[in-house]
Assembly symmetry: C2
Homo-oligomer: 387 residues x 2
C-alpha cells in the first residue's frame, strides 16, 4: 500500500426532496451566485423553478449561465469566468450532470486566475485555488459532484483534457434519486458504464497489498451490476435509483483509491474518441474498456482472475487461470452490451479514419495509463481491438 | 434507504513516517497547542520525542497533559478544559489511541462551554462547537481519529456515556502503521474486535434497500478477518498492519452507515460492563456481541443469513435458514476466541453480582438499540447469555 493523503470535505445531502435545501446551503457562501446549467431538461422537469424558488427564499441574487453541452466546451467556461469577474460572483451553483459540474469547476478555477483558463488543461499552469461551488445532481455518472477533477473540451483542435485540485471539490452536493426518474435509458446506461469505469480504473493497479480497497471496489461494482437492469426496466424504482446514484458518488470520491495508483488509460483513450466524435463518454468507455482489458490482461492475470471471480462470480479454474481471466472480460463486455451500450466502434458508427490521429494526439504528452504504459502503437492496437 | 447528510472533512495522512508531518499540519491552527497523551508508551517508543521535535521545528509552544487512562475519565477532561482556558489554547493534539482522542474531543468541546463538560454526556446540554484538534494515532481500534463521537467515564457512579457532533471530527489524522508494531497481542485483538463491532452495529439495521452499504460493510469485515491472524503472528508485518489500521478508520468514519440506522445496543451494554469493571472495551464487545446476536437473530433471520454467507462464507441452507444464521453467529464467536478475546463474562472474571444494576442503569434513559429495542429485562437476558 502506498502512503497517501485523503480529504473529501464535500457535504453530501442525499434523498427525497433534498433539492429544497439548496437555498439554505448556498446562502452560507453569499447573497449572489452564478447558476450554471445545461439545456432545457431542468426547466421541463420543474427542477429549475424549485431551485430558483429556494434561492430566492434566501434572498439570493442569481446570475444565469445555461447552455452547457455534453463534453463541455472551454468557450462557455471562458464566458462564465468573464461573467463571474464582471459581477463579482463568489459562488457557483451547478444544476445538472457531470458536464455542468465540470464546466462550473473550470469557471471556479478560472476566476482565480489571470491567464486563460485553458492553461490548466495544457499543463501551462496548475489550479491552486477555486471559487466555492455547490451541486444539485441530475445524472449519476461522472462522480464530479464530490471529486476534485474536471474534463473540458477545446473546440480548437478538439482537445479533451482533464485537470484537478482538492479545492475543486464542491462544498455540497445534493442528490435526490427522484430527479433521475426521467433520464432516458441510454443516458442511464451511459452513467452506469461511466461509474463502473471509474472503479475499474482504480481497480487495475500494480500496487500489491490493497485488500481493503480491492474489496470496497468489488462491493461497489457488484451493487451497480445488481441494480442496473432494474433502473432500466423500472425507471421510477426509488430504491434502485438510490443505489445507483450513491454508487456513482462512491465510485469517484477517491475513498476507493486510497493507497493505490489507478490506471486511467481507458479514460484517456476515450477522451480522444469523444473529443473528435462527440459520442457520450459512457458509451465510449463501454467500447474502450473491454478492448483495453483484452490488450493488457496478461500483464497481471491474477488480478483479472480475482476480478472475474469476485465481481462476476466466475469460478476459478486453477488449471487455466487465463480462461478465468478472459471469462471476466467477456462478462464485462456482455454486461455493457446488455444495458444497451455499444461495445465496438462500429456499433457507434466510428471508422478507422482517425485511429492514427487519435493515437498520436493522445500520447503526445507521454504514454497513457499506469497498469501498463501505453505508447502510440499500443493505443493504436487497442483502437483496432475495439473496431 | 433513509435520507441522509454525510460530511467527514478529516484529512487522513496515512503511511510510513507520516508523523514527521505533524508540526506542519498543526501550525496551520496556531503557535500554541495542548499535547494530550496517555502513559509512558509514546515516550518509550520515541514517538513523543519525534512529535515534540516536529512541533518545535514549526515554533509551536507546547502545553502538556498526559495521563489519559483507558476508559478516559471526566476528571482529567475537566483538568484539560481548565488548562486550555487558562493558557488560551486554540488547538489540541492527541497522540495515542481512542481514549486519548476521546478525552481530547471532550476537552475541545468543554473549552467552548461555560457549564460543566459532563453536561454533554447526560443530555443536559449538546455540543455545537469545538476547538479544532488533530491526531497521531497509535492504536487502530476506536475509529475516533475521524469520527465525530467521544465516550467518557464519570468516576462518580462509574457512568460511561457518549456524545458527538460533526465539529468534533479531527482536522487531521496521521496514521502510520509502523507505530502499531509494538502493540501487545491482547491490545491488537481488542482493537480488531472494536472495529469489527463498529461495522456490525451499522450492519444490523431494519432499513431495507441498503445494498451498497451492506456490501461495503462486508468488504471491510472480510478484510479485517483476513489480516487479523497475520498481525497477531507477525506484529511487524507492515502490509497487514496497514490493512487493519485503514479498516479501523473506514469502520467508523460513517461512510458505511449512510442511509441506514445502526443498532449500537451492544456498545451500550458493553459500556455498562466496562464502566464498572474497567475491562478493555474490545474485550467487552467480544463478550456482548455474540450474546446479543443469539438474543435478537430471530428478528430478521435473513439478515443474519446474509451475514453468515457473505462475511463467513457459510453456504446458505435453504431448508434451514435458522441453521445458517446460527452458524454465522458461531463463526463470529469462534473468531473472537481465536484472536484471544474472552467470549464469556466468566472468562473475564465477571460474575452475576451486578447484572441487575447494569441492566437498570443502562436503560434508565430509555431502551437500548434500534434493530431490536432492548429494555431492562432484555439487557438482563443478554448478560445471562454472555455468562
Amino acid at each position: 500500500m502506498q502512503n497517501f493523503e485523503f480529504q473529501n470535505a464535500t457535504k453530501l445531502i442525499f434523498g427525497k426532496d433534498t433539492e429544497e435545501a439548496v437555498g439554505k446551503e448556498a446562502v452560507v457562501y453569499g447573497k449572489k451566485l452564478l447558476l450554471h446549467y445545461g439545456g432545457g431538461s431542468i426547466k421541463e422537469s420543474g427542477l429549475y423553478d424549485r431551485v430558483v424558488k429556494s434561492l430566492h427564499e434566501q434572498g439570493i441574487e442569481i446570475i444565469e449561465l445555461g447552455g452547457v453541452k455534453p463534453n463541455p466546451r472551454v468557450s462557455l467556461v471562458r464566458e462564465g469566468v468573464k461573467l463571474c469577474k464582471e459581477n463579482e460572483i463568489n459562488f457557483i451553483l451547478a444544476v445538472g450532470g457531470g458536464s455542468v459540474i465540470d464546466s462550473a469547476k473550470a469557471i471556479a478555477a478560472g476566476v482565480k486566475y489571470d491567464g486563460d483558463v485553458w492553461d490548466f488543461f495544457t499543463g501551462e499552469s496548475v489550479v491552486t485555488d477555486c471559487l466555492p461551488l455547490g451541486v444539485v445532481l441530475t445524472i449519476p455518472a461522472a462522480g464530479s459532484e464530490t471529486s476534485g477533477g474536471t474534463v473540458i473540451t477545446n473546440e480548437e483542435g478538439w482537445y479533451k483534457r482533464a485537470t484537478g485540485h482538492n479545492s475543486m471539490r464542491p462544498q455540497f452536493a445534493i442528490l435526490n434519486p427522484e430527479l433521475t426518474y426521467t433520464l432516458p435509458s441510454y443516458q442511464t446506461a451511459c452513467g452506469i458504464t461511466d461509474m463502473m469505469a471509474h472503479i475499474l480504473e482504480r481497480y487495475f493497479t500494480n500496487e500489491k497489498n490493497v485488500d481493503l480497497t480491492d474489496r470496497l471496489c468489488e462491493a461497489a461494482l457488484k451493487t451497480i451490476i445488481n441494480h442496473a437492469h432494474t433502473v432500466l426496466e423500472e425507471p421510477t424504482n426509488y430504491n434502485a435509483r438510490a443505489e445507483i446514484m450513491l454508487a456513482g458518488t462512491v465510485a469517484h470520491n477517491d475513498s476507493l483509491s486510497t493507497g493505490r495508483i489507478g490506471d486511467w488509460g481507458s479514460h484517456d483513450i476515450e477522451h480522444e474518441i469523444s473529443g473528435i466524435y462527440d459520442i457520450a463518454h459512457g458509451a465510449g468507455l463501454a467500447i474502450v474498456f473491454p478492448a483495453w482489458m483484452k490488450y493488457v490482461y496478461k500483464h497481471d492475470i491474477n488480478r483479472f482472475v480475482q476480478f472475474a471471480n469476485r465481481v462476476w462470480d466466475v469460478e476459478i479454474d486453477l488449471n487455466d487461470l487465463e480462461k478465468t481471466a478472459l471469462k471476466g472480460i467477456e462478462k464485462t463486455e456482455q454486461f455493457f452490451s446488455s444495458i444497451g451500450m455499444p461495445v465496438t466502434l462500429q456499433e457507434a458508427n466510428i471508422g478507422e479514419e482517425h485511429f492514427a490521429e487519435m493515437s498520436k494526439k493522445g500520447t503526445e504528452r507521454g504514454p497513457l495509463g499506469n497498469f501498463v504504459k501505453l505508447y502510440e502503437d499500443d493505443v493504436h492496437h487497442i483502437l483496432k481491438l475495439a473496431k
